[in-house]
Symmetry: C3
Subunit: 682 residues, 3 copies
Amino acid sequence: MSGARVAEGMMLFGADWNPEQWPEKVNDADLRLMREAGVNRVSLGMFAWSTIEPQDGRFELDWLERLLDRLDAASIGVNLATPSAAPPWWLLDAHPEIQLVDAQGRRVPGGGRLSWCPSSAVFRHYATRAAAVLSEAFGRHPALSLWHVGNEFGNENAQCFCDECAIAFRSWARRRHTTLDTLNRAWGTAFWGHGYTAWSQITPPRTTRNPPDPGLALDYRRFCSDQLLAHYRAEVVAIRGAGSTVPATTNFMIAQGADAIDHHAWSAEVDVVANDHYTVAADPERHRELAFSADRARGVAGGGPWLLMEHSTSAVNWQPRNRAKGPGEMRRDTLSHIARGADGALFFQWRASTAGVEQFHSAMVPHAGVHTRVWREVCELGAELARLAPVTGSVVERAEVAVLWDAQAHWAMDAARPPTIDVAYPLLPERTHRAFHRRGIRVDVLHPDDALAGYRLIILPGLYQASAGLTERLDAAVRSGMHVLITALSGIVDDTARVIGGGYPGAFRELLGLRGEELLPLQPGQRVRLSDGSTAERWVEHLTPTTSRTTATFSDGPLRGLGAMTRRELGAGTVRYVAAVLAEESFDALAGALTAELGIRPPAAATGTAVDLVRRVAADGTGFLFCINHGAEEAEIAVYGEDLLTGRVARGTGAVPAGGAAVFRERRTSLSGGHHDERGQS
Amino acid sequence: MSGARVAEGMMLFGADWNPEQWPEKVNDADLRLMREAGVNRVSLGMFAWSTIEPQDGRFELDWLERLLDRLDAASIGVNLATPSAAPPWWLLDAHPEIQLVDAQGRRVPGGGRLSWCPSSAVFRHYATRAAAVLSEAFGRHPALSLWHVGNEFGNENAQCFCDECAIAFRSWARRRHTTLDTLNRAWGTAFWGHGYTAWSQITPPRTTRNPPDPGLALDYRRFCSDQLLAHYRAEVVAIRGAGSTVPATTNFMIAQGADAIDHHAWSAEVDVVANDHYTVAADPERHRELAFSADRARGVAGGGPWLLMEHSTSAVNWQPRNRAKGPGEMRRDTLSHIARGADGALFFQWRASTAGVEQFHSAMVPHAGVHTRVWREVCELGAELARLAPVTGSVVERAEVAVLWDAQAHWAMDAARPPTIDVAYPLLPERTHRAFHRRGIRVDVLHPDDALAGYRLIILPGLYQASAGLTERLDAAVRSGMHVLITALSGIVDDTARVIGGGYPGAFRELLGLRGEELLPLQPGQRVRLSDGSTAERWVEHLTPTTSRTTATFSDGPLRGLGAMTRRELGAGTVRYVAAVLAEESFDALAGALTAELGIRPPAAATGTAVDLVRRVAADGTGFLFCINHGAEEAEIAVYGEDLLTGRVARGTGAVPAGGAAVFRERRTSLSGGHHDERGQS
Amino acid sequence: MSGARVAEGMMLFGADWNPEQWPEKVNDADLRLMREAGVNRVSLGMFAWSTIEPQDGRFELDWLERLLDRLDAASIGVNLATPSAAPPWWLLDAHPEIQLVDAQGRRVPGGGRLSWCPSSAVFRHYATRAAAVLSEAFGRHPALSLWHVGNEFGNENAQCFCDECAIAFRSWARRRHTTLDTLNRAWGTAFWGHGYTAWSQITPPRTTRNPPDPGLALDYRRFCSDQLLAHYRAEVVAIRGAGSTVPATTNFMIAQGADAIDHHAWSAEVDVVANDHYTVAADPERHRELAFSADRARGVAGGGPWLLMEHSTSAVNWQPRNRAKGPGEMRRDTLSHIARGADGALFFQWRASTAGVEQFHSAMVPHAGVHTRVWREVCELGAELARLAPVTGSVVERAEVAVLWDAQAHWAMDAARPPTIDVAYPLLPERTHRAFHRRGIRVDVLHPDDALAGYRLIILPGLYQASAGLTERLDAAVRSGMHVLITALSGIVDDTARVIGGGYPGAFRELLGLRGEELLPLQPGQRVRLSDGSTAERWVEHLTPTTSRTTATFSDGPLRGLGAMTRRELGAGTVRYVAAVLAEESFDALAGALTAELGIRPPAAATGTAVDLVRRVAADGTGFLFCINHGAEEAEIAVYGEDLLTGRVARGTGAVPAGGAAVFRERRTSLSGGHHDERGQS
């Protein structure tokens, strides 16, 4: 990440616009409506390859130039997409081998999108040529604000198993492991007699009658992410080679606990972190999932501003039951992203499609047109975001609690044939974030390699694989006063997906002062009580404290009387372990006990618990307190300052209506205190 | 449909008979038993290709001729099958390419049945040659009563995705859309950049990582039905070319809401509409599903008599749990079909197979032989059907309520990536039919192109796609006094599966006098109350009345306070809308309110609600009131006339025993009154 | 089965040891720990092909020789594996055609295990060459105690559908059926026109749009088991050809009701019956499943001693939720197998893998090392088994109840398109065994061809297919005083999977004195009451008694008032039928009534019902009463003799602690009495 600013002094607002899919007169209307709504940014051309290059090497760009000119005239910036998400039929017809092969060995035919093989030299040739042509044509166009390279890398092509990938994977594996001996050891191929005696024997983990070797499966996920990144880089090189210096990015999919690619590794390669996020209809607390995803996105952005590249005004079209958003919900969602560091919020898409797979996806202009609630709310939101211009460039106040998340740990757990099917990687991080969110406590989401200093409490929720050096850094941090909570399913394997012997959790047992003997998945519906009143489900562990002491025991179940939670005092801090998957309400209680003990509080006092409070702080110390009320009753916030949305000034108390929001600009104050409370100063 | 009569003056009774699967002496016994049971019609040869043509071009027909002669001697008519349902191994071995390719690209191997590709020129050659040979040999045989072309077209081969189909589909698409521009517009290919630049790029919607484009998927269903129909026609041409003028048909599968083919389009091509129907073990109200399917079959037959080509004496073998029928149930089922217009009822099959995939399918002669309840009931039924000869040729009295059903709308909904998985096409028509059936109100099932005149109430239950001209015809009908009820999920797309913009339901919003803004699928278990006491589930819609008035509002849920039902007075009639999927009991209540308001009543008064009452009327005005008692108590019917089954005469009141049936021949009366009530005349 | 003894005078104890997967120094530690644990037998080399033969034809055996020498020095015997379970990559690379093709036509790629085609000539060449090389090298080595040929034949390769199998299947079918006419009749190919006119048309039952013909599907299962057996034999021939006379076997998978191969047919070919067994985490009564599997294994071994080749110290890794065993549970499991005839109990595996697919499978040495409960229990168990040396060679006392089990009946039911999905073959045998096990009554599991004499009660629980001659042998046995209980779903088809006509159950209706008319699967949740208070579920049958009398009728449901159970007196015995699947508790009650009526009692009196009591009897008449207490309270057993585990002597009463076990050596007594009770003699 080059640290390019998302935008200069304005909160971005707009959408994917696909004018090539509509008649000219609709385009005219669109431009008028965009002004009405306050749109200042659109993404163009994502699926326009067949329009841009209708035949091999014949490019038609006039239409696009006209649009860029008109957008420029309208002061609407453009994220110009390279079109690789949607290769045209002439290319698929001539080169079916650009399409990925699935784990069953089936080449995916044309007709969808994004199913190209990331190792395909032919595809890379065509994709980079198109990128270069666009860069030459528009790389210096005044409307061009950001390159939007491809689309949602990995969404349909997270893994390809073709022979071209096999060849590339052998090279990748050789670079990583140097010798076959090292590789055989790393992957543990001796088990089931899979020892390789020639590099050419290495193949992708295609479906057999058994699960793949975990070491191989993990490396293959890494390889696939690297191949996609290599493709991304090649497109950027083509853009730069054609002379454009405009920042470039691609839209990540940090949402719902997914890791199609390793966002941390990618973040160094994009000029701006951009993310797509859609709420989950089936989740009654979907705004908490949003908060977690936004916190993850900010973590990937290194804490600085990022761009919400896609979200929706109302329903999406790809969930089993695509719930429409209620009145005010779009606004709360958008402001929640901005509160958590987004310097702009775009939608997929501008105008609802009437045909195609996404015909029932909501848009800024719905099927029913502008005499609709959705359109009215869109216009109101555009006006409000304009009033939030002062917020841009500010950073979200550091939280006191951090949660570690690592795509590598995620993939390692996916790669295992696990002791139970009931604990997938995202479960524990999600449950952890949600527990604090329910109490109004902000959480930063860090990568294990990020600096840990400055936090009161660091949590490793099921961090299945510990990256190198993490244990030592945690040890040092604890000695200097930090508190660490590690949960079951953490630190079990090393970076080759190999179990660390000698007692679970191998990576952390010395730090924790305990030795785990056995992992005990529970059966469906089985619950275990703990001596502190907690309830465990899905998973418990048999441990023996060494240098730690037991703070709770199992009251029943297979480990009755044995230790369930431990605490070790170490220097100025503590390290705690929970040898169980706690039920949601028990994890909530644990979060409550920890925050009480450590004196961790929400960023401001508020009535009720339904208000999400996040403070962004500008370079000059100005605070912006975002207050988003997800509840059914008006809330009162202890705050001083002007609500940028309404212009009303709060003098000690600010009201936020049920389902509403406020953004208070707070008086400048010291940043050093962590908490930002002006009460004493008023 | 040529309008050939099903049979001349007798109620057909019999089964599929597969004598080639049994020893000669069993055939002898079968012929004796057929006489005992009153069989007057059998279907022969459906799976006999390998017996008829044991080697390429070598036909062995003597055995068949002998059987036809013996059947003729026994006065048993024959539906002679062309054998295309079961290509022999020598053909599969020489031409594996006659088998269909599935959406995954896998060619289905031999060993099943009916899996031939409808575009295969090779298969058509062999199938039509066999048909011609049979026609030459037996086309004038006195036993031959009906050609039974193939079997259940589309059951295993509703769609093929092979390259031969791809070529045929390109021609089909060219005929339909003329130019690629038109086609691209129709299918909305611009979305996701699927624009075709050459006809050769068009391929069947094989499985990709995404759902197919709805416009393409819909056209492919149409194409497949057309290809199957072309094959059917080719076989008929071969039969006619060999000189036979005996009527021809094939057995449809109008059952359980399925539309493997477009029965309406096919009905013009068959000389007699024939249908296969099997009750659904898991459905506690399976007799209502039967009634709906029979009403659909009659609708396909244009209201005239049709033939029940297959049903079962007891259990089938292909459901998860194959329930056996209880005492009297086969009789009620058979008579229910006849009540609804069938002029005969045949079974699959005559004698239960001991081997093969259908070895546990019931038959007229069960595994256990003739000392069985099933055989006794078969013989009693045969005797009863003989007494119903006077009924043949009569037509079912026109209902006052009609429901529109359209395979095109069905396929369009299947082709969409829908807002919710919880509302498949058949749900709303089925729920509608069932609501009226529970109240004893008869329903005709019409195709949208059928004449609408003469009905009091027309219902469009989730008619997702409106065919051309329907809105105008409804408008005219309403102005002249008809009442129309349209439910949610109707009229959303045009005939290219494209959403009609400007407000839902695009096709009907002017007629309805409202504008819908948004579609709101509900989550599982979510219920919404309406102000009239109704409950909605699965789906609600946000609408604004324009020229209509709101008759019920949502009392809670996402649209609290907004309109849920509307009514527009238009000329002498009304148009109503229900902007929700009503729970079954609420839809029942709505049906009750409508019938009360419009004065729609059952065809005769009866005690209780368990008696299904249907009147057929002969050309001379004689009525035949079918009374089928599905309840556990004797019912009394207000009727005058002789029960053809028992010979007993009802003078104002007829009794129908629990689980029993009666068919009263009513005195001749005027047909014009719609209702046929002699009470005043007695 | 040659009748080789499992071992000479010692109870085998040990595990699969995979030293090639670990560094040398771990091997050194392993040998020390094996002595500590009392290990006297290890299995070597199962997955070591790539180590033994790293390149085509280059064998490296020195490492193995050193290990054998060291094991010999440590007095640890070796089961030396031929390595065919895990073909090396160089072989897979050169000959991908050795891998099986699945029913969809997909060749399984390398990367798993055991997926070789049993018909592959190439694979057989390589596998037998490796076996011969091992035999030449180690066939006379003093450590070699048993050849362990391959591993779990059929686990991943129970069926292959490749063209090489197709060719072999044609030969197999020709040998079995001689002519195509016979074959066509046997398979009932006339149905659906599948009649073959050339042998070359016969293909494996690859997946079509329909289920396969039952006759074909059943023969294909037989063929596949035969092909696997041919491969086993070929490996043994190679071993013998190289001069080794050490007994040979392979590990069966008699567990959880599975029949990957026909163990009865295979038992004649192995020198010792060996079995793998793992308990089922999701089954709360998993010790009963263990008992049934062990009784099946003993039945396959003809009643004599057998070897438990694999079980687990704690969790496995391949179930959805891999439950760890509780304290004492491993010991109870091991002793339960020994009680039921095992002369040794080995584990998979010695040392827990840290990598590979089975990294979370428990072992004798866990991940956490030797300071663990599991290791302590392993050492205690090793010491105890040493004290059980006197038990070896003894045989399990004949039970009074026998249950018939037949893989052929199992496969026949699997091959059918059945009337219901709710009754798979193992259900009724399992429910039967469990009912008696709950009452402490021992059950022998016999093959239908086994001698039936000597039992009081023989049960045919859902023996879907009756083998030739069984009915006559049952008839004779009953006349001479035996009692027979036959349940629903027995005797329905013959050995070609063809329904036996004339009334169900065709094979037994004369013997039973009844005639069944119809099979009536029930719907989910549907229950039917019987006049004796029983409850039926899933399935009832309509029958008419002929020479039997009805002992219970259906009180409700579709057969209200008709017979549900019958009894026929025949000579000195009785034959009974249950025309329903009884609910578990009702089957338990029936078992109780039968045992009471026939005076069948447990082998010894005990308090409570949680103690599993099994007596083994030595050639000299010494009894060994195994008492395994699965309950939570101490139990008292009426017994005289010394507990071999503790050395304590019981004089009329022996105590077995909660969760504990005892093995009492009883005074020599007559074997003739069946029951072995010394009370009167003390």
